[in-house]
Symmetry: C2
Subunit: 445 residues, 2 copies
Amino acid sequence: MLPDPETHTIVPGPTSVDDLRELIESDAVNDAALVLDRMSEDERSIAVTGLPTEAAADLIEHLVEEQAAEILEQLAPNVAALILEELTSDVRADLIAELATDSASQILDVMSPEEAEETKELSRYDPESAGGLMVTELLAFESSTTVQGVFDDLTTNSDLYRDIDVQYSFVVENDRLVGVLPMRDLFLAKRSTPLREMMIKDPIAVRDDTDMDTLEDVFDNHHFLGIPVVNPAGELVGVVQRTAMEHALAAHDRSDYLKSQGIIGGEEIRSLPVAERARRRLSWLSVNILLNIVAASVIAMFQDTLSSVIALAVFLPIISDMSGCSGNQAVAVSMRELSLGLIRPSELLRVWGKEISVGTINGICLGLLVGMAAFLWKGDPMLGFVVGSALCLNTMVAVSIGGMVPLLMKRFGFDPAIASGPILTTITDMFGFFLVLSMASVLLV
Amino acid sequence: MLPDPETHTIVPGPTSVDDLRELIESDAVNDAALVLDRMSEDERSIAVTGLPTEAAADLIEHLVEEQAAEILEQLAPNVAALILEELTSDVRADLIAELATDSASQILDVMSPEEAEETKELSRYDPESAGGLMVTELLAFESSTTVQGVFDDLTTNSDLYRDIDVQYSFVVENDRLVGVLPMRDLFLAKRSTPLREMMIKDPIAVRDDTDMDTLEDVFDNHHFLGIPVVNPAGELVGVVQRTAMEHALAAHDRSDYLKSQGIIGGEEIRSLPVAERARRRLSWLSVNILLNIVAASVIAMFQDTLSSVIALAVFLPIISDMSGCSGNQAVAVSMRELSLGLIRPSELLRVWGKEISVGTINGICLGLLVGMAAFLWKGDPMLGFVVGSALCLNTMVAVSIGGMVPLLMKRFGFDPAIASGPILTTITDMFGFFLVLSMASVLLV
């Protein structure tokens, strides 16, 4: 049994390498990662260097990729290489890809030539492709091997295979994948049977350049825990585990959330240097402030209207905020339906139809609410009408744009997570300000 | 090999049950789910009833839970029961929990008594606990069983075990979990060895009420693909697969994203009825509009100031929007660090320290930008100073609140995903409007 969860909750404080090792070896690697996060840069590399290689690798694997890369860059290349060699091929390749070019090549230089070559090859794959997600650690046998031959190999190399998932083994002929073999079938087979006679022929496999969406479809449509990956020549090059794909999908979604909130790149941890964090956030904010100024310039064009009906100034931020809220609901649902595969980027009309019906109902309700508030405050029914109907109309505009923009972004190759919000709010701000102020200039002045 | 991805992209249109079945049987279940999504309520239940039970179950499993439950409620109870019996225990229990009470009991009534009892028990677990995530389909043997006995059982019941992951089998004594056995060890063992002599004793296990965060820690700290679940009496009741936990975590994160954008409940699909979607979205919008009116009332208190410096009206929405942007960046990073376990809810001071430094830099940059724009527009350096310094100060307030509110929400048991945004924008709006207008009333009027 596990210890009580409470005992896992440590309060980070000054810690020696020994404490860190103890945490890792008592299976509290996440706590160790937290302790490391709170150290200074120098302390981190001293601590990681002082750990046994296996513990250091375990720890590195539990860090956010960016932080892991930062630490590896500060280590002596041979120490970093030893740690990397303990990791699975996909994690190793991802980290090498994350490193600065010169650090990466220094570390690859001290790795064994084959491992360096393999790592370099793997790190060239798009991290969100089958090649980028696969591990090369797998069991493969020639089709002429007998069941007894497999057993012998398993016995001889059991140490080597300790960390490999052996739900399936793969059957090859001259490196080309020709079959797959659920390991449990071996229990029931005669020892002299060659694998070619008992394997599942023409197994489901994916090309190494298959993208994550397609891969997700394949895993959705089959109950496999792993899918073999072949290169264009049909040679078996690795296997994607279902957990690796689930993990990558979750990371992708989380990064979409961060991007939608203005964290460019989809990742920030607070132990990064202040200047770096400020710079990244500012790159997003400065685009937004320019868009904001553009939108607000609509107000500037109606200064005379505003001077005569100063109460309107109270309602401008409300219209801007509420249209943003309504529009962002529609953005979120579109993002979700895109990721679930429930809409295609081309189905603009369907989305618009579904949004405008909701937007009309909600626009009327919100418009009535704000219009009533304006009327009660100033006793002017026309002020209530102008403000209320402007919010009503702008809600309908906001849900339409909010629903459709993610589809358009995706269709034209932009990142919907990062671009949808600013586009939405700029358009709805401009339109909302224009609506209320132009109506006011006709009806209230 | 898989067919070309393009052939998977069908355009939904009028479809017969046969077409639907063909899609499911040719491993395009996601496409089938999309086709079903586009049908009317009545068409859906006719289509699902017309499918072979296994195909219907496959399809139901690929739907959003809410939609699956809606369809099951419309089916004849015996048809629904047959479909549910094809699903794994955890999916079945989740769906039963999602159904309206009377539909659920009608369906349970026609299931076999044992299966109904088990499903009822499972559906009582919190879906985000070990009990809610586990499956009861597993291999368990008494500790006195020999390797030969296991082989015999596997051979006899191979049909029954077809859909079970058999990476491990579990060893029990009077239902109590006493050991675990990697299946591959069976290859290498003598047939007469009893399991108790070769099993791994005192295996890692979790209690059925273990929450998802703790479960995630356990999976992070070990490389297991599955973890056995025991009840308070130490009896083996199920196994949580790593994929199930990854899946639930991803769903949780996605639902957090939707909640943060104002989709109450964390889920909406556009095939739900318009009135229902409008009602849900409106429940969030109406809270926000009240908060907005409260915040804007600050502007109302400064109408005289506004009348004399009408240009200020242009900058109020900019200050409101930009403070929201800066604050939401901090909210997103806090949400992410909370979910990664990189901060504890009690570490307010650390978060504030990290945020205020970034907020000061960004506040100065944004303030300078807006101040300069105001100065260039009106040629009034004091207007620039008032607007710029108000935005600068309010940015610092926004990141502080944005960073800390999710921690406070979590600490006091509220859902940080749904509450953080409105709290943030209400406070920063009020403070921002007050800052710029009170400074203006002193320096500009």
